[in-house]
Amino acid sequence: MSALWLAVGFWLAAWALNVWLAGSRVSQTRFGKALVPLIFGATVLVLWEGLVRGLGVAPVILPAPSVIAAKIAVSLPTLWQDFAQTILKGAIPGFLIGAGAAFLVAIAIDRSPFLQRGLLPIGNFVAALPIVGLAPILVMWFGFDWQSKAAVVVVMVFFPMLVNIVAGLQASERMQRDLMATWGASYLQSLVRLRLPAAMPFVFNGLKIASTLALIGAIVAEFFGSPVYGMGFRISTEVGRLGLDMVWATIAVAALAGSVFYGLITLIERWVTFWHPSQRH
């Protein structure tokens, strides 16, 4: 039990420290901005470790963070192979193809109000469908290797992106478009100079949603058939063998990969849409 109380004590102390840090001048610096979430994360880990040790939770229910870390250290080659298969070959190509195709289609139907009125309701509808259900069908068509995973990701990413880009292209105000017209701007000029920049907050909103969808799609698709490596394969077989430390190790890799992916998109967003009110804190 003492491990538990130690952890709770650590938690309270760390929280107090964070409140003080957030209010102080340190939080304005880049160092402080990284420090506060790190302290919070460390607190969660310590609390987790304390709970598991203090209450004697069985490792088949929840392994302690130290056990998971040890597992990661000894199985790095396996984890890298899984990562390469699922993220590098499945999720990222699928994400790029899906988002690129959505962009091209959005531009293509931009000049045709008829097609827009036809495709938008359908795109909106399909974007909301549980497309994950297509995974078994696509695995049946494209085989067990990464092609079928990339295909699932393409389909999952395409419609949310399409809807966001089309909505974004309509985001510029009437007055702004009229101004472009009085300057004699051509369609292409007003697209590149006004409407695409104005669409960027929507585009990045879509990209952020798509980045998490891409990971889910690539991993879930592996539940329906995969080579004997890949993160989804690892998770489903290790859950079956009650090797929960390996499951959590894979989850840690997935979380890391996803955050780096998301972080990159956020960085680019900050650079592109610096003018949007939500970017000015």
Binding site: N18, P37, I122, P130, V132, G133, I209, M231, S259
Partner: protein, 288 residues
Amino acid sequence: MTRVLPVLTVLAGIVAIWYAAAVWMNATWVFDQAQRAGTVVTWSEVIPQTMTQDRPLLPPPHQVGAELWKGLFGQAITSKRSLVYHAYVTFKGTMMGFGLGIIAGVLLAMAIVRFRVMDMSVMPWAIISQTIPIVALAPMIITLSSQLGLQGRDLPKAIIAAYLSFFPVLVSMVKGLRAPDQMQLDLLRTYGAGEWATFLKLRLPASMPYFFASLKVAVAASLVGTIVGELPTGAIEGLGARMLIGSQFGEPLIMWAALFAAAILAGLLILVVGLVERLARMRMGVPA
């Protein structure tokens, strides 16, 4: 009519492409059969045969439609073979997850916008939380909840659904609550408005378009979460379980019918959320 015609045109195009693809993909099987039997078939004989296979690679629309009709109206809605029954099971899980997700998302967004320490410490982790493949946690959540004495699969499914649906609400609400610009905030300060008044009269109304936009995403995510939650947990009820059964027994028609039932359910859910949004906007005086 001007609104329906474009949609119908695009739909007709999709159906046409679907039929063409069905002929193209299913023809391989017909040619294989013919070769094995030692006969030669012409295209005019192949095309009818691609329309009526028991286990087609891509079932043509009318086969899916027939299977869907059989599932929805062919039997009593309490039957285990009725898609209405399975859709209801999925709907129940979706709604529980949706409710939990909205509450969690809005409360967290309020705390994040109000307290700097929450923004700095929780927001990065909320984002990271979405990158964890929740499907992997599903069996563990079920083991845990059964150990805590909770029977049934409703709660684990709802937790998975809430986990996926709180995020769009959170992201949009944080954006929405921060949408008022400095000038508007300054104006309220000159009125002597307190923090709570600023929240109620400026931040909350300003966030409503973002909130309702996120609800459509959230309800869809909740449905995805419920279906994914039904996939690996050995569930026998729900649309996700039907898809898994279709996949395991090599019955593409069951898979496609379950997929379209899920699509219809998603459509109904979004329709209802859209209606609620219109009502709310009318009450708030925004021209629809």
